[in-house]
Amino acid sequence: MANDLGVSTTPAATPRLGSLKRLWPYIRPYRGLVLLTLFGALGATLVQIAIPLITQDVIDGPIADRDKSGLIPLGLLALAFGVAEALLFFLRRWAMTKSSLAMERDLRDHIYGHLLGLPVAFHDRWSSGQLLSRATSDVSSIRRFVGFSAIFLVVNIVSCIVIMVLLIGIYWPLGIFIAVSAIPLVVTGMRFERRYNLVSRQVQDQQGEIATDVEESVLGIRIIKALGRRGLVFGRFDSRAVQLQRLELGKVKLLAFIWAIFELQPQLVLAGVLVGGAFAVAGGAMTIGTLVSFIALFTVMVWPILSIGWLLASTLEAGTAADRIFELLDAQPTIVDTPGVRERRIGAGRLRLEAVGFGYPDAATPVLHDVDLEIAPGETIALVGATGSGKTTLTALIPRLYDVTAGRITIDGVDIRDLPVSQLRSQVATAFEDATLFSMSARENLTLGRPDATDDEVAEAIEVAQASFVHDLPWGLDTRLGEQGMSLSGGQRQRLALARAVLGRPTVLVLDDPLSALDVHTESLVEEALSRVLVRTTALVVAHRPSTVLLADRVALLEGGTITHIGRHSDLLATVPAYRSILSAESDGDGASQGRPRGDREPSSGGRQMQVEGVRR
């Protein structure tokens, strides 16, 4: 009964806060420090109670006896207690700092590592702002909880219980009255919990939305400026910021309410104690001295009760933060090593797609179905298809950025799902259609996953991609690139991405439209250098232009989600009308303009093409 208050404010009993329990593994390594924090906090509280007692002794002892020498030991004692209090205080803060910051770091590291391991499909769905706000502000709320709120919730509840027991011991009817008077607090606390949880969740989500908005508005700054849409973007941001403000105000309202209640209650109880105590004294059940000390003791309890409202809010906040974090941590990485896989020897790298099908998780119809393709070691296949036909999707299946939903992909006869993911990805290198560069040094961008690449390897990759421009950057390879490589020209970005892919001679090379941003001369230089690399690797090259197709030995035509034709470029051009319409420069039978200067710029294919091919092979 006496610990009604205690139970009421220990929120672990409510299901919402279950996720706080799941934080234990992160706190565990620092449990010693957390205990020390608790010890410091409790100790300081005890000392705080002791200091007035010494005062009492001074007054009752030396002063009453006019004994100056008796003052000295008591003075030293008071000094010792004063210093001890400060030391305990320091101890608490120090231990709290060490434990909570280390826990915060661990949790954040863990979230980051977990996110890096989640499949691309997960990242497709989640906005980066939401991920970020969970890894930063939510983790910080948990830090505050572990380092402060949890500790003081315990300390305050313990002090309340202790004082309550003492009070009941002094005069039980009034003590019971105080215990019972905690019931309204419990009830409001519980009702408050539900509502507060809701808004605090909304606030945290909205903060994530704002972060997302900010990120987009910066990444898209070129577009915003190019179209002069600052106002529109600001409007979007503003409506979110205003919404956030509204939610925050809702939170303020609830908090102010709970504060006021927790502040009101002890004072009302005090009035009750005074009146009840007065009657008790009048009735002779209690002496005046007892009443005074009863009240004095009760006032010590006021502050702990009062702060419980605030601590409760902070705990609830940590609870929602933990919920949000575990939403991420509960997402299972789906593209992982199947149990028991071992590294296998990969030979020359014969790549086979067998009846491969793939659909994006939320799409009704699959993008790819029944794709069969075999690429021999050293062979290069060009993948040709209309815009949006699924070429990029197909290329993403090979390094297992997505897993096939039907059929299988093998390298040298081994299903790629039976290889360790890291081994697979070390064999397969991709140049994406957008360069995907980071604001790091050019070298780091080049050696992205292979920090151990030698200078010779780097030089070779640069040579193949004709990316020697990097040496002309202000600090050469050490120059930091702008975010997304924005301090480079389009063609420079693309060549850097290409160099990255060919670095270290992967067994399987996947190039997604690798030459689209290059001018004709550079293109032919790259092609020439690249063809030397391609004879050594198994390669799949997505192509939109005949010039790129020429890199390949054979061409696969992707149509309606599957590969309909495979053959040599010239054969397909001659026999497959669909292929001709996609790849032939000749406009769809619009021959009228041929022969005119304008039309002349659309060369007829036939002979010249054969000729070029002859030269190349």
């Binding site: 002063i63 207690f81 691309v120 400026k225 303020v252 550079t522």
Partner: protein, 621 residues
């Protein structure tokens, strides 16, 4: 070989730790910002001060009434069984408690509101300022840092407002009143108490100088954590495909640990400062106790006074810790505000026109006169580096003269890195030239208002960035007031309608972040439709069809013939098929225009363009 530290690479804007001189300047700047944020609420703050004083009185009335009750009402009850005084005092306590609670509620709500308004103002200010800053700024600042400014830095201020303000006011109020009471109660002892102040001030000074640096460091390190987080997750495909996870994890660990260390330092300072304040309080209390005891023994002072004095001394020093905590939050917020004010005071290298020349309807006459341009800003440091042999200030366009009459369609061709996009960006005033003038209809672009300029000149950039949101929203971005049918019309003209219709929710399909739901070609079509909808006088297409398949490209080109009929256009393309629709061809090499003429003439000649064209034709096989 790279070592662990140098992955970021070198850039010009890296600055070392701020000097103390700069530190003072930064603090002044951030205080100014804080003042600016508070000033609209000054009157309300004054009111709140009153509220908090009354509320404190109500709060303090409780113990006083208890004393009164014990001294007066209790004897009355016991001696002549009169409940009157007790009821009186009981109800007075109820009233005081009610008043206290109500005022507290009102106070918290008002301060909360003011705080939230300040935050909103700050968010708006920073966001719109960042949007106004030129590309040159964004190229080095990175989105991650902007995010950290607008999230974690703003949060630091939020914390200050949250926990600080009301605690501070209450604390200061009680320190003041109790201080007065102490002095009045017994001047000599009061003076002993006041001895604490010099010590407190010394401690505060020490804390201020050290924590300013420490908190500054936390702001910087947390920004680095955010940058790494945002960028690596933004490029997750590359990260995974190239097995960068271990390295990124290692980098993140380092940054995260740096952040922990920085915070640890700040918290360490605090764990000395706050207990230090407590210690001073305790020492003074002991001093008062001893000195007071001696005085009482000497008969200079009554025992009751000493007892009261000691009780009050405790109450005097207790709120000091609150003030210390507030001071700590304040330091943290000031460091955040330093960063924010830094962004806010970042001046645009492309400043808006002072007295803009109005331009209702542009004709589209574009002129470059003696234009010189390089991306790096020319600073003393860069000049020094140039002397030292580091070519950090490459000139991209050395001296450009060009006139494009209204309605002309110009094809701009040339090797990659020649400076084509740069020329286009100057025409759209993404940057200002170092020398020379870029003008539209004879008006220097620097004298046009942003609005007029953006209406007149629109660019389809080489990167087709889409915003998350529906396809229709993205196309409508070109002209927000456009109706749905206009949007669909634009898509149809460009040839994007077909694929959009096939998306699960047609025009309402969410394209997801950065347009990830669409293929590269589809993204390009959407951004094309977006620019088309904007309907500008000058349209610049920078490699706008590079990712399209040939049939789509043809469709776009056919559309362009009609779209461009009455507009000035600059088309940058490596696939010379575009040249078909051009009236004029410019060939650029290393930032210079080396050929200029009609396609027929150039083709007939034997210059660069004729070369390029032959090579291109050969490549078409």
């Amino acid at each position: 070989m790279t070592t662990q530290g140098d992955w970021r690479g070198i850039a010009t804007e890296d600055v070392d730790d701020v000097s103390s001189q700069a530190g003072i300047f930064l603090r002044a700047r951030s205080r100014r910002l804080l003042g600016e944020l508070i000033s609209p609420h000054r009157r309300q703050v004054r009111w709140l001060l009153l509220v908090i004083i009354v509320q404190n009185l109500a709060w303090l009335a409780g113990p006083w009434l208890v004393g009164l009750g014990i001294d007066n009402a209790l004897p009355a009850l016991m001696d002549d069984a009169s409940v009157g005084p007790l009821i009186w005092i009981g109800s007075a306590m109820l009233v005081a408690a009610g008043l206290d609670a109500i005022l507290r509620y009102a106070f918290l709500r008002r301060t909360g509101q003011i705080g939230q308004e300040m935050l909103l103002t700050l968010r708006r200010k920073v966001f719109s300022h960042v949007q106004r800053l030129p590309l040159a700024f964004h190229e080095h600042y990175t989105s991650g840092r902007v995010i950290s400014r607008l999230t974690s830095d703003v949060d630091a201020l939020n914390e200050l407002l949250d926990e600080g303000l009301d605690g501070l006011l209450t604390a200061l109020f009680s320190i003041m009143t109790i201080g007065i009471v102490l002095i009045v109660l017994d001047p000599p002892l009061g003076l002993v108490t006041m001895l604490a102040f010099p010590l407190l001030i010394l401690l505060g000074r020490w804390f201020q100088t050290n924590s300013a640096r420490a908190y500054r460091r936390t702001r910087e390190t947390v920004a680095m954590v955010i940058v790494q987080f945002v960028e690596s997750l933004g490029g997750i495909r590359a990260v995974q495909a190239f097995r960068r996870e271990p390295r990124d994890t290692e980098i993140f660990r380092t940054l995260n640990e740096d952040n922990r260390k920085a915070q640890d330092r700040a918290f360490w300072l605090m764990s000395i400062f706050v207990p230090g304040v407590q210690l001073i309080g305790n020492l003074v209390t002991v001093g008062v106790l001893m000195y007071g005891a001696i005085r009482v023994m000497d008969g200079d002072m009554k025992l009751g006074v000493l007892a009261a004095f000691l009780l009050y001394v405790r109450r005097f020093f207790d709120p000091m810790s609150d003030v210390a905590m507030f001071y700590n939050s304040y330091q943290s917020a000031v460091a955040a505000l330093e960063k924010l004010s830094g962004v806010l005071e970042e001046e645009s290298s492309v400043p808006p026109a002072r007295n803009p020349q109005p331009m209702r309807q542009a004709h589209g006459d574009v002129r470059f006169e003696g234009v010189e341009f390089g991306y790096a800003e020319r600073t003393d440091a860069s000049r020094e580096r140039t002397l030292a042999g580091v070519n950090s200030d490459p000139i991209v366009l050395p001296d450009l003269d060009l006139h494009i009459p209204p309605g002309q369609t110009v094809a701009l061709v040339g090797a990659t890195g020649a400076g084509k996009s740069t020329l286009a960006r100057l025409a759209g005033r993404f940057y200002d030239p170092r020398a020379g003038i870029v003008s539209l209809d004879g008006v220097d672009l620097r004298r046009l208002s942003d609005e007029d300029l953006r209406r007149a000149v629109v660019m389809v950039t080489q990167e087709s960035f889409l915003f998350s949101g529906s396809v229709a929203d993205n196309i409508g971005f070109g002209r927000p007031e456009a109706s749905r049918s206009e949007i669909e019309h634009a898509a149809r003209v460009i040839g994007a309608d077909e694929f959009i219709q096939k998306l699960p929710e047609g025009y309402d399909t969410d394209v997801r972040k950065r347009g990830g739901r669409l293929s590269a070609g589809q993204r390009q079509l959407v951004s094309f439709a977006r620019a088309f909808l904007a309907d500008p006088a000058v349209l610049i297409l920078d490699e706008a069809t590079s990712s399209l398949d040939i049939p789509s490209e043809r469709l776009v080109q056919r559309a362009l013939r009609t779209i461009l009929a009455d507009r000035t256009a600059i088309i940058i393309a490596h696939r010379l098929s575009t040249v078909e629709i051009a009236d004029r061809v410019l060939v650029m090499e290393s930032g210079r225009l080396i050929e200029d003429g009609s396609p027929y003439d150039l083709l007939a000649g034997s210059g660069r363009f004729a070369d390029l064209h032959t090579a291109w034709r050969d490549s078409l096989a």
